[in-house]
Symmetry: C2
């Protein structure tokens, strides 16, 4: 099987790392707009061959792991080239615009819209790790629009990587993911900004910050190039989550101003149930 | 050396766990308002003897690790009982009110105001872990008000646990810690609240939440009994941090509404410097 990874960073790199481990017979080809990343991926052994779009007619399985704005532009071109038995999967954190962009593509049946819920705050080929997808959820949208035998081919790969599959429509995906992923990134980036702005002397942060702070701002290390287009494509849902988050913070501030510490206790106590909700979420290596 | 731990949970329990490991000759006595916690601490081997305030005259080293509102009430009583060569340390996340409450106590020189920057989101005796304080910062306030030989005694213990010492005045401590610790807890609790409110069906959260969300809401598992009095004692500083955080989130929302994605990229890119700031912060086990 010829596996092509387009965009060889954390997501694509970790993906082919595991594919090669589980399916040694697979040949791994890499395509990347950044020639240095391609060289690095080759040096790291993530890919076996450097390739270009003109080689895509040899592809049996394509994983597209590039920023979502580039995904919308590139997927139609990629589908134009691949043969009829090739399945093309994306890995974007938004699904509605991507699915809409391909709705009428003659090769729509070769595309499987995917969002593997996995990652770390790091990026680039050197961020690729083994087992990133083990036990993680892969959300597949509009599965009925993909040729059945190509669904099967993709599921076989995902299952070999240990992924749980969940089917969803693009609209529901984008709404839910805004809450459990996109909002977390904004809250983390703005927390980091607030502290950096205040603490002119970074030494203070280093000395006083503990693991709690580090955990809460971890996502503020994420790649702006990856995240800006996600916020752009999911703008409406993200604004809804921000409105509710800002309102909850404002209400909490009101309780403080009113010295209603019983109310503050209740707020925190009610939210403690997140413990049971989160139980069982597989954590990524960091 | 007779070591008394008053409040035998995550902080006090981890503290005496390490003391016993580094100083096997130390005798560990436990006092706790909750008899079940005391029994549990004994069963877990965190303490060797159950004790009461009437035994405190035997104490050479006392660590007070109870909610900060209780600390303000109990410290004066504890100091009344201990002998002249006993050093009493607290571990509170606020320092100004505690130092003020003891300013005129006849035994003020027996007290060392401490804030070990260490912890996890868990609580109770069973949350106590080995090596929690290794490489962590212990902030000491008003050190000059503590008898010199008692400072030395306490530093010897802290250093044997691998802690870095940093001296600060209570006002600066409470202001800085509001940014790097107290605000993180509020941002995390309100993020958890926002998602719980939205996702009536918790199954969706479980399936779609990844390690990024888990990391960002981790602190929402923290104990309301511990945190409510912290927010009460540090109310003014916490409100300042909340005002700035809410403003930054509101500005980010404005950029989204204005489709200023270049501005959004810049915001995230500037905050990426948190990477270098955080480098080297020792993470607690979870």
């Amino acid at each position: 099987m010829n596996v092509f990874v387009i965009g060889i960073g954390l997501i694509g790199g970790s993906f082919v790392k595991d594919i090669k481990a589980k399916m040694p017979e697979a040949k791994i080809f890499g395509i990347d707009a950044n020639p240095e990343h391609l060289e690095e991926a080759l040096a790291l052994g993530l890919i076996e061959y450097k390739a270009t779009y003109s080689d895509l007619d040899k592809a049996d399985f394509v994983i597209v792991s590039i920023p979502v704005n580039a995904t919308v532009k590139e997927l139609p071109k990629i589908l134009d080239i691949v043969h009829d038995d090739c399945v093309v999967c994306d890995a974007g954190s938004t699904k509605e615009l991507i699915c809409r962009a391909l709705a009428n593509h003659p090769k729509r049946r070769n595309f499987l819209a995917c969002h593997p819920i996995a990652g770390t705050e790091f990026s680039g080929p050197s961020a690729a790790i083994n087992g990133l997808y083990q036990g993680k959820t892969n959300i597949i949208c509009e599965v009925e629009k993909t040729a059945f035998k190509l669904q099967e081919k993709a599921l076989e790969v995902f299952q070999s990587l240990g992924m749980r599959i969940r089917y969803m429509n693009p609209k529901a995906h984008d709404k839910h993911i805004a809450y459990v992923s996109h909002l977390s990134h904004i809250s983390s980036f703005m927390l980091g900004k607030t502290v950096i702005e205040k603490e002119k002397n970074e030494r203070d942060i280093f000395d006083m910050a503990g693991s709690g702070f580090e955990s809460t701002v971890r996502l503020a290390k994420s790649s702006p190039a990856m995240w800006t287009p996600i916020f752009e494509q999911n703008k409406e849902n993200v604004i809804d989550t921000l409105n509710e988050y800002i309102q909850n913070l404002t209400d909490f501030r009101e309780l403080l101003l009113a010295d209603d510490f019983e109310g503050i206790y209740k707020e925190m106590n009610n939210t403690n149930k997140i413990k049971s909700i989160l139980k069982g979420i597989p954590l990524n290596k960091k």
